[in-house]
């Protein structure tokens, strides 16, 4: 079988503005300091003291480094990998020297030699760069995989054939409506077949959902009622493509289709504290039936959200007595114009 990812991976610096990356750096550096302290000492007490001494010097360097890296992130991201890595190493050495000089003027010469600190800084920085590079290399096939999964989380064949059937029924009686339906269908499939590794915008995703829902409306008529609350939606927010549409498809499949009476799907998208909240709610009657398909779609979306936003995104589903609600939170990142 041909592999999907045949291109050699060029290597990349991590995104220093991602909370997950920052957390990992903090944890790893402190972890190494703790190990170093433990190795140098005979007792637990002594180890803690040792750690405090080390931390007094390392933490300022660490915090300052993270700040500088966050600031320099857009510029670093543009550099080729090796040059970028070189710049980061030099930057770290410079910051270490700076903090050391300041420290020395405060505390005198009781903080060890600068050369030793340089060595520590060099090793630590190199190790972290290699770690993050390997991590993204590991995740990189996953990114290609995510594209495949986006295809797998595809529209239910059930929906496709019923929609085509609905369009066929319109061709003789309402040609205009049939044309619109076919246009909607082709827009939907254009997105499904596109390379979905790139982030889309919330506006595009919402447009896609409207097209999808208008096709469902054709089949289900009065039974499907949709309420949009998107006045405070940030139109330019980045979102992986096909996140909302499969969720709406679930809502129709499990919330509307099984009932003869009409039901309401509620869509609420808003911005709060620099985070985009998406709330989808549909009626749901418990029937003791587990929906394997539903779980797969949810896992797929959760995975793609975390590939793109790491720990800054979340997806939660709540089952109430008569409704089912999905809540997505993603960081508000503006799409590049």
């Amino acid at each position: 079988m041909p592999s999907i990812n045949q291109n050699a991976y060029p290597g990349a610096l991590p995104n220093f503005r991602n909370l997950g990356i920052l957390l990992r750096i903090l944890l790893l550096v402190n972890g190494v300091c703790l190990v170093a302290a433990a190795l140098k000492s005979a007792s637990m007490q002594q180890a803690l003291q040792e750690f405090t001494t080390i931390a007094a010097l390392v933490e300022p360097i660490l915090i300052l480094s993270l700040l500088v890296l966050m600031l320099a992130n857009p510029w670093l991201g543009k550099l080729p990998f090796y040059r970028g890595a070189g710049v980061v190493v030099l930057l770290e050495l410079a910051l270490t020297t700076l903090v050391y000089q300041l420290g020395a003027s405060f505390f005198g010469s009781g903080i060890g030699s600068l050369e030793r600190l340089w060595l520590f800084c060099l090793l630590m920085t190199a190790a972290l760069i290699v770690y993050f590079n390997m991590r993204s290399r590991l995740l990189s096939p996953a990114l290609a995989e995510a594209r495949l999964q986006a295809l797998q989380a595809r529209i239910r064949p059930h929906f496709l054939f019923n929609s085509i059937n609905a369009v066929l029924s319109l061709i003789r009686s309402d040609t205009k409506r049939a044309e619109i339906a076919l246009e909607d269908l082709s827009d939907l499939f254009r997105v499904l077949m596109a390379d979905n590794r790139q982030l889309s915008t919330l506006q595009q995703e919402v447009d896609l959902c409207r097209r999808y829902l208008s096709l469902e409306q054709l089949r289900l008529g009065e039974r499907l009622q949709v309420e949009w609350h998107i006045d405070n939606m940030p139109h330019d927010a980045q979102i992986p493509p096909l996140v909302l549409q499969p969720l709406l498809e679930n809502a129709v499949y499990h919330g509307i289709e099984p009932h003869t009476e009409s039901g309401v799907i509620n869509i609420n998208i808003f911005l709060r504290n620099d985070q985009v909240h998406v709330l989808l709610r549909n009626p749901y009657q418990r029937e003791g039936v587990h929906h394997a398909g539903n779980k797969m779609a949810m896992e797929n979306i959760r995975e793609r959200l975390s590939l793109h936003f790491d720990v800054e995104a979340s997806l939660t589903a709540t089952l109430r007595d008569d409704s089912y609600q999905v809540h997505i939170i993603i960081p508000y990142l503006r799409a590049k114009k």
């Binding site: 239910r156 059930h158 019923n162 609905a166 003789r172 289709e257 099984p258 003869t260």
Partner: protein
């Protein structure tokens, strides 16, 4: 010359019904028939059948509340089971079962010539029997059905308090009244075991209807347990073998 075939279309989606009507109209020249009714769900279809009996039903499988297979199972109660052609857009499991059990079906979107072919066969083919339909069923029925004066009466399973085997029949007890059903208790137990429990060799009780158990001791007899039910005065004996239920219920 036989009289034109009376056809009923059953599908929850209006466009799908329209499409079938158009295709049937196209077939009219080579296959004389009459569309006697349309129904948007299973109940409507069964209702309509008792007023406007049809010879053939075009029956969608996936419909809200009562699916097409269940509709066909209730139709079995009619004096004359009509011919049935199932329709489906996409349902891997159903299609496999249809192939295995040699039951006729059409895939939506339906082609004119396929429809014509199925209509021509329908007169000769025997309608599916109870065993065949039972094999096709993917889930328990939502209703039980009995025949009263040529009409199909549906009894929602959720309203059934208990099912009791008596000689040839099974008595269905609801809050209002009793019905007689011609099915075996063993089959019913298998189908509805998620919500019903056997309390005695001849009796299944809806778990939701059990409110408690009472120990009864009559003179000269060994004490035994009885099941107390919600909404009805009557109490049902619990067999010795099922006494563990008392403990389970207490939990």
């Amino acid at each position: 010359m036989t009289s034109p075939l009376r056809i009923m279309i059953v599908d929850d989606e209006a466009p799908a019904r329209n499409r079938l009507k158009e295709l049937l109209a196209d077939c009219a020249a080579s296959f004389p028939h009459e569309v006697v009714g349309e129904a948007a769900n299973g109940r409507e279809a069964l209702d309509l059948m008792s007023r406007e009996p049809a010879d053939l039903l075009l029956l969608d499988i996936r419909m809200p509340e009562m699916d097409g297979i269940e509709v066909a199972r209730h139709l079995l109660g009619l004096p004359q089971m009509p011919a049935v052609i199932f329709t489906t857009a996409y349902d891997v499991y159903a299609i496999e079962a249809f192939e295995v059990n040699a039951v006729d079906y059409l895939m939506k979107p339906v082609r004119g010539e396929r429809l014509l072919g199925a209509l021509q066969k329908a007169r000769q083919n025997r309608p599916p029997g109870p065993e065949q339909l039972q094999k096709l069923a993917q889930r328990p029925r939502t209703c039980l059905s009995v025949q009263e004066r040529g009409k199909i009466v549906l009894i929602p399973v959720s309203e059934v308090i208990y099912l009791k085997a008596e000689l040839k029949y099974v008595t269905i007890r609801t809050l209002e009244r009793e019905y007689l059903l011609e099915e075996s208790l063993t089959n019913l137990e298998q189908e509805f075991m998620a919500n019903f429990i056997r309390i005695h060799r001849n009796c299944l009780v809806a778990k939701a209807s059990i409110t408690g158990f009472e120990k009864v001791a009559e003179e000269g007899e060994e004490a035994h347990w009885e099941v107390v039910l919600k909404g009805v005065e009557e109490k049902l004996p619990l067999s010795r073998r099922q006494q563990y239920l008392v403990k389970e219920f207490a939990k």
